[in-house]
């Protein structure tokens, strides 16, 4: 019984997970990757007025290494795709991707030769926000959803955060 407390989903591991999640969920540092129109709305959400800092996203982390959640706001073109993939690869686990706006979700109105038809072709996406562009409130809701997901995640017992989030 004592061994069970340490193994797998045992008592100590789950309590430790709870502690980690409790710490993580109050400070989701976003990496604001605003490329187009949605970037302006994301800026509004970060600035006074909507004030994303209320939910712990106090510090926009422009360095991918320190970021928890990548907010992809705007179109990713084929020319940009390698840079974007690289940014994602540089982020440390556990990481989460919020795809903000129709362009990031599916290419939106730009069904053309140069636009990537949805960033989910490149990276796993956790939360989609529809809209062209979505309102700042929608971004705040996505952030709350991310916090909710963080509460449920199992950083110790499951190895990859993204595996869990994408599958469910």
């Amino acid at each position: 019984m004592a061994i069970d407390a340490y193994n797998g989903g045992g008592w100590i591991a789950t309590k430790l997970e709870w502690l980690i999640n409790w710490g993580r969920k109050r400070s989701p540092w976003p990496l604001p990757y605003g490329t187009a129109c949605c970037g302006i709305e994301m800026m509004c959400a970060l600035a006074a007025g909507y004030d994303m800092a209320r939910f712990g996203a106090e510090r926009p982390s422009f360095s991918p290494r320190q970021a928890d959640v990548l907010i992809q706001a705007g179109t990713i073109t084929l020319k940009m795709a390698p840079a974007f993939k690289r940014i994602y690869d540089q982020m440390a686990e556990p990481r989460c991707v919020i795809s903000m706006g129709a362009c990031a979700c599916s290419g939106g109105v730009f069904r053309t030769y140069s636009t990537l038809q949805g960033i989910d072709k490149l990276v796993p996406v956790d939360i989609y926000i529809p809209g062209c562009p979505p309102r700042p409130e929608a971004l705040l809701q996505a952030l709350l959803m991310f916090i909710e997901k963080t509460e449920k995640s199992q950083p110790i017992t499951r190895k990859k955060h993204s595996d869990l989030l994408v599958g469910t």
Partner: protein, 379 residues
């Protein structure tokens, strides 16, 4: 004025470092990329690369009908969508030979000037952020939200307004516009005053902006500058006065002109333009009130727009400069070719000449002051 030390030490040895900035650098406005050859901190050679937000708008326009393209124009300069919409509508109206009713023109003027204020606010706010002055950004953004509220309540969208239709506007100003406008006006003035108090005579601000990337009027014209960046160089050119459209010839307003064409002048020109825009809206609204309530808002245009074959170019003064649309029609319901002449495209191509010899930190200041919007730069 430019106290930048000229690099001397390693010129002979050729000991330069190539620095890649962007495309996902926070100071690069999302999608710009600059490859800079540096000597210590000064820039020897700068090579901007664009196209990271090339979404094929011009090609897309060829497969949409004339009306369907209006929402796409929103996504060009997303800081101020309304001048884009109006510029495109004006081009198609010119192609069809349609005269827009005066009341619709006044509504366009009011909305375009509001968009101009919003655009300048975000430009100055971001310029401040990029130079380390974060507070003005908050003051300006709060005021911008108020303008967005007017847009939203008029159009239903905050950012991508899809304002107007070909041949006029689709809706009249709501009844309580006057009240909203009277509430907004002092707010904008107050935010501008606060910004000015924080920035204009600030020693750090002056050191970082005065004399940085100064440009002569001759060069500016040769490079195709328009808008605030050209006026900052000392050329008094404003399409609202030189080639009046939308009844702009009936309003009295000043065109601010700078002297040196440096970052500081661009900032001041934008600040004054905001004030002038407020005056224009006042005058336009006064004229608007004199119009009969049932005056037409739309010219007589057919439901399916099929302009006669031909090609026209029509331009207006967007917040960034001359925004032109070249529309070629072959007589069918879809445009044959749409070319957008974005103002910051012409300005940004002079970027190497603007910043070479300056410090890396000034590259950021210069870039923000040009107000390069990737959406219209790459289209």
């Amino acid at each position: 004025m430019n106290q930048n030390p000229t690099p001397q030490t390693s010129h002979d040895t050729g000991d330069y470092v190539t620095v890649n900035i962007g495309p996902s650098h926070p100071a690069m406005h999302g999608t710009l990329r600059v490859v800079a050859l540096t000597d210590g901190e000064s820039l020897i050679k700068v090579d901007p690369e664009i196209g990271y937000l090339h979404r094929g708008v011009e090609k897309l326009g060829e497969s949409l009908t004339y009306h369907q393209f209006i929402p796409i124009t929103d996504r060009l300069n997303y800081c101020s969508a309304i001048p884009n919409n109006v510029a495109y509508e004006m081009a198609v109206e010119k192609l069809m030979g349609v005269e827009v009713p005066e009341k619709a023109q006044l509504i366009r003027v009011i909305m375009m000037e509001l968009a101009r204020i919003a655009d300048h606010q975000v430009c100055i706010g971001i310029l401040g952020v990029d130079l380390g002055a974060f507070t003005p950004f908050f003051y300006l953004i709060i005021q911008r939200e108020e303008i967005y509220e007017i847009f939203e309540w008029f159009n239903g969208a905050r950012l991508t307004n899809t304002f107007g239709r070909i041949g006029g506007v689709d809706a009249d100003l709501p009844d309580d516009f006057e009240q909203r406008w009277e509430e907004l006006k002092p707010g904008v003035r107050k935010a501008n005053d606060e910004t000015e108090k924080l920035l204009t005579h600030n020693r750090i601000w002056m050191d970082r902006t005065i004399g940085i990337s100064a440009f002569s009027a001759e060069d500016a014209l040769n490079w195709g500058f328009t808008g605030p960046c050209l006026r900052a160089c000392g050329v008094k050119r404003d399409l609202r006065i030189d080639e009046p459209y939308c009844m702009y010839d009936k309003f009295k307003f000043k065109v601010p002109v700078g002297k040196n064409g440096d970052v500081f002048d661009r900032y001041i020109v934008r600040m004054i333009e905001m004030e002038e825009s407020l005056k224009i809206i006042d005058q336009a609204y006064k004229l608007y009130k004199e119009m009969p309530a049932d005056a037409p808002l739309m010219a007589r245009v057919p439901k399916v727009i099929k302009p006669p074959a031909g090609e026209v170019y029509s331009a207006l003064e967007s917040p960034n400069g001359e925004l032109g649309f070249f529309v070629k029609s072959d007589g069918s319901a879809k445009p044959y070719r749409i070319r957008i002449r974005p103002p910051c495209y012409m300005i940004y191509q002079a970027f190497p000449e603007l910043v070479e010899g300056e410090l890396i930190a000034d590259l950021v200041a210069c870039l923000s002051s040009l107000n390069v919007i990737a959406g219209e730069l790459d289209r």
